[in-house]
């Protein structure tokens, strides 16, 4: 399980012994520490938690909360905002920054103009009751850190600039020793909140499956003329979705997922060229867009600068022909792109085979990474953290061992299928919307499925899939998702239906849930014994 090293673990003092060690002070790790802080039974007078960050948190601490927008922005579901309020973190948020989103418009188009697009318009919920908040990741991180440093003194120890170099199980398996340089600490349980390349996951010998998408996402802050900016837009292009996510009346964040070659080529267009390209990405018909992309790629591969005047020409034509009716359901034209905000990263899907190792447990990106099209990455991590906090509070109330397999089982039983459902649905949507059959009107060839597929997207974007609490989750039967995918995925999909039925059928349903939640494998193992 853990790396075997020749030298024994040196004596570890009382001072370096912690009930819980959290590796990674990103949003998942910080939110976990914050959650634990709000649990009375867990935070007894003698409870000590160590939060370790490999880098420095100074940038987070000194973030001013003013001026230029961060390019890493996440959609926080209303449910998670409530959770952050409950644990006292939302009070520390720079309140002027998060942008409520009350409306989402999603569409795809393959016709000659955007008027022929199949479009779904989500019900207006009003800004008083927004479905999500676009929040800069640093804003949330700073709020969580402030809460911890304010209320966690002496109980939550934050250490920076320390990387785990070794993890080993103590004699008898009652604690895990962690080495940072020459220094050892020990913890009753170690949380891997250490991201996609999680060292904790590696030390725990937990495999992770998944695949990279041949897709990168380009992010940037966009500026436009002042509007009532509380509507998110997402268009599914053959190369991936382009999303417009509001930040303020005149600023918006962009997440454009497309091929790595195009991302590289777009970045060479410069802020002005990119701004026009983004406008085309939202407004231009698919065929013309594909032609433009071909030209841009050709220029890029030859190392030539693409003539951005050509883009302007296209853009002016579109603007001149745009009707007021069409403009209503499209985002505002982009005036400029903040040049420092332009960045890109590869997209991938991954899911750890298990969330529990020997006295280790994974949360957030260490457990799963998801395509950003649903904007659920951070939300999944927060849901993990919330459940783990609740599970541990109960374990501690009943005198349990926080790191024991049995103690952690309820966490993975609740989160694994929920996350798996989101991951697989998002994965499927990525491929489905990327499918184009040449020469055939895509929307027509796929027919009604397009409209049906928008149901799940809607739920995804509204954070209704895999979210607990909202009792109405996943009632949308008849989704074609059910017909596809692995047995496991299908089982996970069915679980929510089971959950709905559960109130009626009680324990009989739990039978189905065991199969789904723990996986048929576990049951078979048990039967085979």
């Amino acid at each position: 399980m853990f790396q075997s090293a020749p030298s024994p673990i040196p004596e570890i003092s009382d001072r370096d012994t912690y009930d819980i060690v959290i590796i990674g002070a990103g949003n998942a790790g910080l939110a976990l520490a914050c959650t634990l802080l709000s649990k009375p039974a867990l935070m007894r007078d003698d409870t000590r938690i160590l939060l370790v960050e490999g880098g420095s948190l100074d940038r987070v601490r000194s973030w001013s909360g003013k001026g230029e927008w961060e390019n890493r922005v996440s959609s926080l579901t209303a449910e998670n905002v409530q959770f952050l309020r409950d644990i006292g973190a939302w009070d520390h948020i720079e309140a002027s920054r998060p942008c409520p989103v009350s409306d989402i418009i999603v569409w795809t188009s393959s016709g000659s103009s955007s008027s022929s697009s199949s479009q779904i318009h989500f019900p207006q919920m009003g800004t008083d009751n927004p479905m999500a908040y676009m929040t800069e990741n640093t804003n949330l991180q700073r709020a969580l850190l402030r809460k911890i440093e304010q209320d966690g003194e002496g109980r939550i120890v934050v250490q920076e600039g320390k990387k785990v170099e070794e993890m080993r199980m103590g004699e008898g398996g009652r604690w895990v020793g962690l080495r940072f340089g020459d220094e050892w600490v020990r913890g009753g349980v170690v949380v891997g909140a250490d991201g996609y390349n999680s060292p904790v996951r590696a030390f725990s010998d937990i495999a992770s499956f998944g695949h990279g998408y041949d897709t990168h996402a380009i992010v940037a802050t966009l500026h436009h003329s002042p509007i009532h900016n509380h509507t998110a837009f997402q268009r599914f292009l053959p190369t991936g979705p382009i999303a417009f996510l509001p930040l303020s009346h005149d600023s918006t964040t962009l997440v454009w997922s497309t091929s790595p070659q195009l991302v590289a080529a777009y970045k060479t267009l410069g802020p002005t060229g990119l701004a026009t390209m983004i406008n085309l990405g939202f407004f231009m018909d698919e065929q013309s867009l594909t032609n433009i992309n071909t030209q841009i790629l050709a220029a890029h591969s030859k190392g030539e600068q693409f003539n951005i005047a050509l883009l302007d020409e296209h853009w002016n034509t579109i603007l001149n022909n745009l009707t007021t009716e069409q403009a209503k359901s499209l985002p505002p034209p982009i005036a400029s792109v903040a040049s420092k905000s332009i960045a890109s990263f590869p997209l991938k899907l991954s899911h750890a085979e298990s969330y529990i190792g020997d006295r280790t447990v994974l949360v957030g990106d260490a457990a799963h990474t998801i395509h950003p099209l649903a904007g659920q990455g951070l939300n999944m991590g927060l849901a993990d953290v919330k459940v783990l906090g609740e599970v541990w509070e109960k374990v501690q109330s009943n005198g349990g061992d926080l790191g024991a397999y049995t103690s952690l089982l309820p966490y993975t039983r609740e989160r694994y299928p929920a996350n798996h459902l989101l991951l697989s649905t998002t994965d499927k949507l990525h491929y489905l919307f990327g499918t184009r059959i040449p020469g055939i009107n895509w929307a027509r060839s796929v027919g009604m499925d397009v409209i049906n597929e928008l149901g799940p997207i809607k739920k995804l974007l509204m954070g209704r899939v895999g979210a607990q609490a909202s009792g109405t989750s996943m009632t949308g039967g008849g989704s074609p998702m059910r017909r596809e995918g692995s047995v496991y995925e299908k089982a996970a999909d069915g679980m929510d239906t089971f959950r709905n039925v559960k109130t009626v059928a009680g324990m009989a349903v739990a039978a189905g849930r065991e199969l789904v939640k723990g996986g048929a494998r576990q049951l078979l193992e048990r039967l085979a014994k």
Partner: protein, 407 residues
């Protein structure tokens, strides 16, 4: 021999004692827990002290000095003439399994899963007994702070319950502690816990396991179990309340020492002992006034036979065949009747709830004690306490609680 017991009491005890004639003599009888050293053990005095097999135990190290407190008496080996309710075959059975105690995915996996639910029951019973209004005054009652938030008044005891240290300051006895699953949990919530077991193997395993945990307030009384290399006994003890000790002894032997406890637990033991009546009397005598006696055991019904023996042992092989003996199971009504008729009834114990006559129970009369079903939901993989007042929950595994009157 049996201390305070009159022959009459022994006779009535036999009413409830399950038919022992059917008892098979072999090691296949029990599982999950054994209790106390035993007549059979003492009948073979040539038996050498059990060597400890765990490699990390260093028998040669001297025992730490006895700590002050009630459990400072050195462990006494069971005397040859002592009456005991322990069944040697059961002890042998569990001794063989002792190394398995802490394998959560093995033989005792179901028990590991049951432990939090048993603790939940204990917590409900103890927390229920905490006087929430202790120390209440006009000055301290609910008030509103500057931000307009309601500050609820909370007594010290109620606060310790909320903060998870709900056994703080209480002496707790775990009879038939096995590998220490329950004892460790009781100690973590602040209890001064003594775990006793009839199997020296179990005590060795329990002591070793506790000694390796830096978070447990473990104190070794035994010369056999010394600290391991990580000096766990000294680690992270600062600020820890509660204590944990283990002793290889029987309930009957312990009773002779005359100490009483705030909470006496005996989980999954009753169905393994030879004379449950004598055993229960012994436990009852060790409960302090206002103290609690909490048991868990299995009822004798077709359902329990199907689930605990046919399914768990023979079909699913979750549990070693021979762990349970159907005839030794005890029905809740039998247990309640025993408390009423043979343990002093309402003269000694608090009446249940409002103390009204409970006609539904076998034999009628005022009901003393509470029975709560505890049901394994194989599909969610968790044990659940059956909802209070609902029927059928106690057809298989159940929890039992009685509280002694204050005087």
């Amino acid at each position: 021999m049996f201390l305070t017991r009159s022959p009459g009491a022994v006779a009535t005890a036999s009413k409830i004692a399950v038919r022992q004639t059917q008892q098979r003599s072999l090691s296949w009888i029990s599982r999950w827990k054994s209790s106390t050293p035993d007549a059979a053990l003492s009948s073979s005095p040539t038996l050498p002290p059990q060597p400890l097999s765990a490699p990390t135990v260093t028998p040669s190290q001297p025992s730490p000095p006895p700590l002050s407190g009630s459990n400072a008496t050195p462990p006494s080996p069971p005397s040859a003439n002592a009456f005991s309710t322990v069944n040697q075959a059961e002890i042998d059975h569990f001794s063989r399994l002792s190394s398995q105690w802490w394998n959560e995915k093995g033989e005792f996996g179901l028990l590991h899963k049951m432990n939090p639910t048993r603790m939940e029951f204990v917590r409900q019973k103890i927390a229920q007994g905490v006087q929430d209004d202790e120390g209440w005054s006009f000055g301290k009652r609910n008030r509103v702070d500057e931000q307009g938030r309601l500050i609820k008044w909370e007594g010290e005891a109620a606060r310790s319950v909320r903060k998870g240290k709900w056994l703080e300051g209480m002496d707790v006895l775990d009879v038939g502690c096995g590998g220490g699953l329950l004892s460790e949990s009781l100690a973590r919530v602040g209890g001064n816990v003594l775990g006793i077991d009839a199997s020296s193997h179990n005590i060795a395993i329990a002591s070793l396991h506790a000694s390796q945990d830096p978070f447990l307030p473990f104190r070794s009384d035994s010369p056999l179990v010394a600290s391991t290399s990580q000096s766990p006994n000294s680690a992270k003890q600062e600020g820890k309340t509660g204590s944990l000790r283990y002793r290889h002894t029987s309930a009957e032997e312990l009773l002779k020492e005359g100490k009483q406890y705030d909470v006496v637990c005996s989980m999954e033991v009753l169905e393994h002992v030879d004379s449950p009546g004598e055993f229960l009397k012994c436990l009852a005598d060790m409960v302090k006034p206002s103290g609690h006696l909490i048991l868990s055991t299995i009822s004798r019904t077709p359902l329990s036979q199907l689930l605990t023996i046919t399914m768990a042992e023979h079909v699913l092989r979750l549990v070693t065949p021979g762990t349970h003996t159907y005839s030794k199971f005890i029905k809740p009504a039998e247990l309640l009747a025993f408390v009423r008729d043979d343990l002093g009834g309402t003269d000694v114990w608090e009446a249940d709830g409002d103390g009204l006559v409970d006609g539904g129970r076998e034999g009628g009369g005022v009901s003393v004690g509470e029975v709560r079903g505890i049901v394994y939901d194989p599909l969610s993989g968790q044990w659940r306490l059956w909802k209070e007042g609902l029927p059928f929950g106690d057809l298989c595994n159940y929890m039992f609680h009685i509280r002694k009157k204050s005087v």
